[in-house]
Subunit: 330 residues, 2 copies
């Protein structure tokens, strides 16, 4: 089993109030570089920070790393438009940081990254792939992509109170900037990615298409951003079976109809509850309060642990230890 | 335990008769990209070829991968100046492909790569590092570096008959091109790397210096190229303890005084014999005949297997299976 983690950035994350994936906009640019390092090495190496939300909720990379320490699965990070250096080894697909989607052509490297990631996905020799993402602001670009494809699917948030109105306003402005209306990019995933998407979604969607074309089973590991990736795969005309593994925090989000969305993209859905409500550790309590929820492959990693028969108590203990070691109060 | 593999190129490898790391000069440019993929995935992914010598001896990457499949150690590939795409995830230190050392300034990125690799080595959280290399033509640039530092150490070869005279002529021309005499770069490792070295040696030496400065034990995994790396580390003024693990094929090379060289750079030497003479598999027979000998961390991987109590018969069996799967007749 290999986790492919697409890590990148969009300047959409700098819009006030759309993302909690980093304590402030400057630090947020380091979040995907640091997340990749935490899953690869267990701690930040070149990145200057442990990503936390403004209230101190640690990045879901900690959970994915905790499971990796128990199960030892392989990791490949793909550079989906990183803006800051990372010590995590990365595969290059030509993605560059995405611009604010309210600009007219925010992801010119998107179609090329989709094509290169597809080739990479076709060539990978693994029996099975888990595909995750880390990109602050990613639920907003996911909402824009879903809207551009004409899919009426609500997205989750790394904030406990989902700033839905704010996201909708950004999406409207993004479509306006590209002279597009909702549904205009139906059947045109590359167009949706380029004009209202982000480089990580381009990478994830391309990789998934390539892997499925060569009959490699793929599990999308994440929440509503991965639903957008699934929508892109379906709009690319690929109807092979595809799975989505996410956390109970996304499933419990009242603003998201996860089973409905999974059904509309024909996804085999797995939801895993890590039982963080049985812990009184400050880091886990924040997840129970609805922060972070998902990301960096967390839901997929938890499902792997569950499938391998690892008790969730062991996962929680490892998460607590790692969170203590990493510290990272904002 | 983590193997750091520095993978890169020098146009010195295109000089007729200096390298067997690839069937011909064009394919040789793909060798380090393919080697990194074989250790990472078990087969070439983006690279168009399984590296073999002109006579069909498979790359030592196969041996390192075989041990990795048994022991499961971590791998980080550093881009030490790759010339062709690789699907192996890589860490960037700013190294670019090296030019033929008979040019006046063949490795302008060498000092920068040394500095960035040193920072990376300082930051790595591992308890212990194994450092290997893959660069066709690397023994010739290693000889040039040793000569420039004033160290009278002979180098090995991936060819059964070491083309010593040819290498010496290249080294003489390299020093001439930089208006330098043997020993002129003593105490100046960055100068030696830039004017007569290669980007992989710069990466390996910088990484080792950084790791040793932060008290991380380092084992140089390889043959005479790693002796040149050790010389660079000592000429950088670092006297911390340092180990070298290599194969019996290098130790048995009559042209190389391995114990003498190890003593002069104060290296703790480990030699591991994989017992390939007990196999009649075509791939292993070529090693016994003196081809390849070492590379891609092979000697270090074998020492790891030995330390972990893995019988060499098991390693051989895995190497034979992998060599059969990969094929790769020239």
């Amino acid at each position: 089993m290999r986790l492919i983690l697409a890590a990148g950035t969009t300047r959409t994350a700098a819009i006030e109030g759309v993302s909690a994936a980093g304590a402030d906009p400057d630090l947020r640019a380091h979040t995907p570089s640091a997340d990749a390092e935490i899953v690869a090495y267990g701690e930040p190496v070149r990145a200057p920070v442990v990503p936390v939300s403004p209230t101190g909720c640690p990045t879901p990379a900690v959970v994915t790393r905790a499971v990796r320490e128990v199960l030892g699965f392989d990791l490949t990070v793909v550079d989906g438009g990183l803006a800051e250096p990372t010590a995590a080894p990365t595969v290059t697909v030509g993605a560059r940081p995405g611009d604010d989607i309210r600009e007219p052509d925010p992801v010119p490297t998107g179609p090329g990254a989709f094509a290169a990631a597809r080739q990479f996905g076709r060539a990978l020799p693994d029996d099975e792939l888990l595909v995750g993402e880390t990109i602050p602001g990613g639920t907003t670009t996911a909402l824009a992509v879903l809207t551009a494809l004409g899919e009426d699917v609500a997205v989750s948030s790394s904030l406990p109170e989902n700033p839905v109105e704010r996201k909708r306003a950004v999406v409207d402005a993004a479509l306006d900037a590209s002279d597009a209306a909702p549904g205009d990019f139906a059947g045109d995933p590359r167009g949706a990615l380029r004009y209202v998407g982000d480089p990580v979604l381009a990478t994830v969607a391309g990789l998934t298409v390539g892997a499925l074309e060569t009959d490699t089973p793929v599990t999308l590991a994440g929440g509503t951003q991965l639903l957008a990736a699934a929508a892109l795969v379906r709009h690319a005309g690929v109807d092979a079976s595809l799975s989505l593994s996410t956390t109970s925090f996304v499933a419990d989000d009242d603003g998201v109809d996860l089973p409905g969305a999974a059904a509309s993209f024909d996804l085999d859905l797995t939801v895993t509850d890590p039982g963080f409500d049985r812990s009184d550790h400050a880091a886990l309590v924040r997840y129970v309060a609805g922060e972070a929820k998902e990301g960096v492959g967390m839901g997929g990693a938890l499902a792997l642990a569950d499938r391998a028969g690892v008790p969730m108590a062991e996962v929680r203990e490892r998460v607590e230890t790692l969170a203590d070691e990493l510290g990272g109060e904002p």
